[in-house]
């Protein structure tokens, strides 16, 4: 087992342990849903007390990297549907209810990245990307027009099936098919006018104000994986953000 640095000039032990655990996950040695060694076992292996391991794990639990289950053990977070909805989907209806949208792919093709896409995804100029257009319905009402951009490597195999059928919750797909876990995201929100294209897709008048959400989704080691631009009708919904 890896050794920690114990001279007093070094970083605190619990921080070194955090780095160690994160690296196990980032490297793929521990996969989402995996049971990690118990606190006692880790403490023995690392030659520290259980309390020190516990401090490290607590911090990772707060960052949604690990989840504790009393009596069972500590697991690598599994970004399932609930978490995706809870964490990454902020549109609720005007009563505060969050309903999972369905999704219908309109177009799906491989192209050269635009300057903006390359920059936001930290790709070389002219890198290939996969660009997916889809519309999402909530309660059978078309509500979100979305363009998703992914690096062609490794995502191009998603175009294999010609109809480009995709599940509603892409983050689960990334995790299962590519072992890529989305851990955090940066969103920029603006009000924009619906283009003719938006208007047609969402069945409303051109010029209608839409809420545009530009999201960059990041892995645990902060590599940008997905650029997603969602244009949302806020007639019956709103973006809910609670500040604590």
């Amino acid at each position: 087992m890896e050794m920690l640095t114990k001279n007093k000039a070094a970083a605190p032990l619990y921080m070194q342990i955090i780095e160690l655990l994160v690296s196990k996950i980032s490297s793929g040695e521990w996969l989402p849903g995996d049971l990690i060694p118990s606190e006692v076992k880790l403490a023995e292996d690392l030659d520290v007390s259980q309390g020190t391991v516990r401090t490290a794990i607590t911090e990772l639990v707060e960052n949604n990297v690990l989840v504790r289950k009393q009596g069972k053990g500590t697991f690598v977070s599994n970004h399932d549907t609930d978490r995706a909805l809870f964490h990454f989907f902020h549109l609720t209806d005007n009563n505060g209810n969050k309903l999972p949208p369905d999704s219908q792919v309109l177009k799906c093709r491989e192209k050269k990245a635009t300057r903006n896409e390359a920059s936001k995804l930290q790709l070389p100029k002219d890198a290939k990307v996969l660009r997916i257009d889809r519309v999402r319905h909530i309660m059978a009402v078309p509500t979100i027009a979305e363009t998703i951009t992914l690096p062609a490597n490794p995502f191009s195999e998603l175009t294999r099936n010609k109809d480009c059928s995709l599940p509603n919750m892409l983050y689960e797909l990334y995790e299962k098919q590519f072992s890529i876990t989305i851990h955090s995201a940066e969103e920029k929100l603006r009000a924009v006018a619906a283009t003719k294209h938006d208007a047609k897709i969402l069945n409303l008048e051109p010029g209608t104000p839409l809420l545009e959400i530009e999201r960059i989704a990041l892995t645990l080691d902060r590599t940008p994986i997905e650029l997603r631009i969602s244009r949302c009708s806020t007639k019956n919904h709103h973006y809910q953000n609670n500040l604590i």
Copy 2:
């Protein structure tokens, strides 16, 4: 000093300590900026170990209720300008820079609460409220048209001075003048079309898409204090939200 319940059916000690510390703050016994007793002192008074007090304080620090300063002590959070900007102001320019807006009061009057205001602020029907209209400039450009609604009790004295001059950062004012600390907020974001009134204030065309932010600001014990509706031009700015 208050006693904790130590039989095993009771809540964990550290949770009881959290409740105790919160009540000291909610009741006003400890005010923002105050130094609270040291961990060792609290542990002695409550007849628990320092570690248990520490667990409780750690949780309150994570919730921004307390701040630790090594070598100095632990303090009740002071919602100063930096924190207000950092925590409650999400508009940044397109380079990610956050500039504090100035503010210019347009109108300020005492009225009967609308149904919506009364409901959102949990006031009785027909309660009196203070309604403030203001415009906020960023880099000399009018960017935000804002309507703020406050319960007339205790805020009506803000209308004493006829020009209704108010500071940029109202939360500091609430804290200093009324001993009310805003701790959390719930925001709902929508895209709306600028009304003629918005257009005039913000110097743009009626119908221009604006980002509307409806915010309910809450105290530590979750009493709603302020309803604020901000209509923002997102031509040069956006609402930044980072999901972790």
